[in-house]
């Protein structure tokens, strides 16, 4: 069998797989549909180049395979052809760069009205808090971290008192409202990723990183950890519920603030001391 066949089959197989693949992205549920468009554009440009160049290679492999009475052409270079190809590649690359740079710029520019959500990552789980009525998150310190204070909020910081502490690992978001995800980690690197939102960023101990998106489809989504973090990495899931204004408001009313929790804790502890005294 002629070896050209195998190189052809690879091109044919790739194209067919791409057309008929049942495995592809889930529907986008945020404002980052532009990322999908950039992928699609790159598939057209890159895929086109791949098909054209590889088909030409296959043609050469068939057409110029060895014949005893033929002599290869002696042509060490062709400056004009090289210039054209270099220019074409440069233009192609620039065409891919332009939309990419524009959307990246949007990605790193957080809208002013974005709601801040503080996400704390640890081996292996997620914890959320919201700024509360004063609109400001309380400052934190790693030495304060314990089971009752997973963020390590400073107890004497007035801004921290009204922080809304979400119990459990599911966070609710209001549909069509931009959110700024603030990311922290207490141990190793993590990454808060919901495939349907398309966006992600590492959580790095010692600093607060962020990104933003605007959910635009109500529903329940799964949070994955997308930065390798040890044995529990594959099971480090959480949840997001995107709901409309009314449902969101009633959900947020049910949540407890940091001072609520501290007070509760105090009652518990007092009870325990009393029990111990008896």
């Amino acid at each position: 069998m002629h070896p050209g066949i195998i190189f052809f089959l690879v091109i044919l197989g790739s194209v067919l797989f791409h057309i008929f693949t049942p495995w592809y992205w889930t529907d986008v549920a945020s404002n980052w549909g532009g990322m999908d468009d950039t992928i699609t554009l790159t598939f057209w440009v890159g895929g086109g180049v791949f098909i054209a160049v590889c088909l030409f290679m296959v043609y050469c492999v068939f057409k110029f395979s060895y014949k005893k009475d033929r002599k290869a052409e002696y042509k060490p270079e062709d400056k004009k052809l090289e210039k054209i190809l270099t220019l074409a590649t440069t233009l192609g690359v620039a065409a891919l760069l332009a939309p990419g740079l524009i959307i990246w710029n949007q990605y790193i520019t957080v809208p002013k009205n974005a709601i801040e959500i503080d996400v704390m990552a640890w081996q292996w789980g997620w914890q959320y808090r919201l700024p509360g009525e004063d609109g400001k998150l309380g400052t934190t310190q790693v030495t304060n971290v314990n089971d009752n204070n997973p963020f390590g909020i400073n107890l004497d910081d007035p801004y921290g008192k009204d922080d809304v502490m979400i119990q459990g690992d599911v966070i609710n978001l209001e549909n069509n409202k931009p959110v700024k995800i603030l990311l922290r980690s207490v141990d190793v690197l993590h990454n808060w990723y919901v495939p349907q939102f398309r966006a992600k960023m590492d959580a790095v101990p010692g600093i607060v990183t962020y990104y933003w998106f605007e959910p635009n489809k109500t529903g329940e989504y799964e949070v994955l950890c997308a930065e390798y973090c040890g044995v529990g990495h594959y099971g480090m899931r959480g949840g997001v519920v995107v709901q409309d204004n009314q449902a969101y408001e009633s959900w947020i009313q049910e949540q407890e603030t940091f001072s609520d929790l501290i007070a509760k804790q105090k009652i518990l502890e007092d009870g325990e001391t009393k029990l111990a005294k008896k």
Binding site: T26, V53, F64, Y74, D78, Y193, M201, P205, I207
Partner: protein, 606 residues
């Protein structure tokens, strides 16, 4: 030039005085570049088998998570859970070691160590490397590094399991993952010796290329293999020391309580005292090596492909100077794109745009190289040796992997695809498969020069068919799992809500079976390789009718390579099918005065 000659004569004299060296000096502590090259090759093959076997084990976990491996327990006994599954911690150790082994021990040491050592003196017309002594040390530091890395697999807590990129804090804290105990310490020690080996080798390669070219071998008469090797060595010298410093700082953090990479950590119920370090600093240092490293891995293969494609197309390589400038361009650019591995690491977001632009520029010299390979085939007279098939396969991988590079280099697309299987697919094609294909191509092509015998051609074809189709079947579908958002380094993909979990399972089964067949096919190569060393058909002096100098040595070149004087170089390496010439090749040592029938007015330029 004069000094070079003095040196050469000295070597010849010394060589003639005591012809037979002791077994130990000849085969073990050898200073002969050809023997050292074979040592690197055999050690690299050993590591490739281990690295490949590890990948097959974790592919079993991904494709058949419920299979009972108890029957394998005599070999991998304590790596299994009581149910006979691969233990989750072992799984992580396997992926970490697979990456470390393949990137560093096989495709850096195995590939560069073999072909840079073997071909630089032979193709340049040198008796040996500039310093045979340091060259010997380069191998033995690699050997030491290998022994330590191998030992680490069997220690308490298992080998390093923080991923081959060993990002802290995971790699810094034994509390975070069990492999970050003794296993990680040994990893760091092993890699430190590895860097020493790489530096000794690279300094030798550079010195040899600059100083020991034979008479007439100007820079622009060097074969493209040598150009690729020279750039590879320069990249190594400039980038490996940075890995060493990253490793040393990590050792300090782990052992001496410093805080280069650590800050504000609460782990295992305890707040650590480390303050002010930056985990991102490590990533900058690591990728400052890591990105040039992927070119250290691929450039030798591209060099080999240039040589093999020109020889087997019986045609001059198209655009020789463009190829050289592309190599230099790729080399320079490789130092200013490292942060494209870190778009979403939490570094300053503005850097994303800068590194996107710089990264996509690399597409231009890379595309020039691909075009020129194919333009070399155009109107050639192509002989499909196994080496040639592997080289064309390399071009195919370099194009398809380059195209997916356009996705990942673009920060906007990388946001979604980062740390998913798309990345795994991309680098296994463009860096893994392409450079493995260069390695295979080189072995098939220069085997006659290494061992004086030919490898079996038909077995070579079978090996190629299985490996080429197999690699595409394994890696191509993985792109699509990545687009669906599946993260890499997951032990299991059960209970997944994003996407249709059932059908993804089918795909994982398919990929695992393809990987198994591809891995098994490598034993065809191993058999062919070892069998041919002893029983292969005897080679002629110049079996591929090639122009380069190594084919002017005797079939089995001795110490010093040429028994008499070193040939003088009269022309460039690519006078194939020159109009008017009697044969379709004119070796580099044939003077123009002997070929009046084919001389061209522009020949002076070569």
């Amino acid at each position: 030039m004069k000094e070079t000659k003095l040196y050469e004569e000295k070597v010849v004299d010394a060589h003639e005085e005591h012809h037979e060296q002791s077994f130990i000096r000849k085969y073990i502590f050898s200073e002969d570049h050809k023997t050292i090259a074979k040592q690197f090759l055999i050690t690299g093959i050993f590591w490739a088998i281990i690295g490949g076997a590890f990948s097959f084990l974790f592919r079993i976990q991904l494709g058949f998570p419920n299979v009972d491996l108890t029957s394998l327990s005599p070999i991998i006994g304590n790596w299994l859970t009581p149910q006979g599954k691969i233990d989750p911690e072992v799984y992580l150790a396997l992926i970490t070691m697979h990456g470390t082994i393949m990137v560093f021990f096989v495709l850096t040491a195995g590939l560069s160590g073999t072909f840079l050592n073997f071909l630089i003196p032979l193709q340049l017309g040198a008796r040996d490397m500039a310093s045979g002594f340091l060259n010997m040390f380069s191998y033995w530091f690699f050997f030491l590094s290998s022994v330590i890395m191998l030992t680490s697999i069997f220690v308490e807590g298992g080998p390093a399991s923080g991923g081959w990129t060993v990002y802290p804090p995971l790699s810094a804290l034994p509390q975070a993952v069990s492999g970050s105990g003794l296993g990680m310490t040994l990893w760091l020690v092993s890699m430190s010796f590895f860097v020493v080996s790489a530096l000794l080798g690279a300094l030798n390669y550079i010195t040899t290329v600059i100083n020991l070219r034979t008479e007439g071998m100007t820079f622009f008469r060097m074969p493209l293999t040598i150009w690729a090797f020279l750039i590879t060595a320069i990249l190594g010298v400039l980038s490996f020391p940075v890995l060493l410093s990253a490793a040393l700082l990590l050792i300090m953090d782990r052992t001496f309580g410093t805080s280069f990479y650590l800050s504000d950590i609460y782990i295992a119920g305890e707040a650590l005292s480390n303050q002010g370090g930056s985990a991102i600093l490590f990533q900058h240092l690591f990728w400052f090596l890591g990105h040039p490293e992927v070119y250290i891995v691929i450039l030798p293969s591209l060099g080999i492909a240039s040589e093999v494609i020109a020889t087997c197309s019986r045609k001059p390589i198209f655009g020789y100077k463009a190829m050289v400038y592309s190599l230099i361009g790729i080399g320079i650019l490789s130092f200013v794109v490292w942060a494209h591995h870190m778009f979403i690491s939490g570094m300053n977001p503005f850097l994303g745009s800068v590194f996107t632009i710089l990264t996509l520029i690399i597409a231009v010299p890379s595309a020039i190289k691909s075009f020129n390979y194919i333009a070399t085939l155009w109107r050639g007279n192509i002989i499909f040796t196994p080496a040639m098939l592997f080289s064309i396969g390399l071009v195919s991988f370099f194009i398809s992997g380059g195209v997916t590079g356009l996705f990942l280099g673009n920060s906007v697309i990388d946001i979604n695809l980062h740390d998913t299987y798309f990345v795994v697919a991309h680098f296994h094609i463009v860096m893994g498969s392409a450079s493995f294909f260069g390695l295979f191509s080189g072995v098939y092509h220069w085997f006659p020069k290494m061992f004086g015998r030919m490898m079996n051609r038909n077995l070579g074809y079978v090996h190629f068919w299985f490996t080429f189709i197999g690699a595409y079947l394994v890696f191509f579908p993985l792109h699509y799992i990545g687009i669906a958002g599946f993260p890499r380094r997951y032990y299991s993909f059960t209970n997944f809500e994003a996407g249709k979990i059932e059908s993804f399972m089918d795909l994982n089964v398919f990929v695992t079976i393809a990987a198994g067949i591809t891995f098994a096919a490598q034993f065809i190569f191993l058999f062919n390789f070892f069998y041919s060393i002893y029983r292969g058909r005897k080679a002629s002096q110049n079996p591929w009718k090639s122009n380069t100098l190594e084919w002017t040595t005797p079939v089995n070149p001795g110490h010093g390579n040429w028994p008499g004087k070193i040939p003088k170089v009269e022309r460039w390496a690519y006078d194939y099918s020159k109009p008017g010439a009697k044969e379709d090749f004119i070796p580099q040592n044939v003077p123009y005065s002997k070929t009046p029938e084919s001389n061209l007015p522009e020949d002076e330029h070569h």
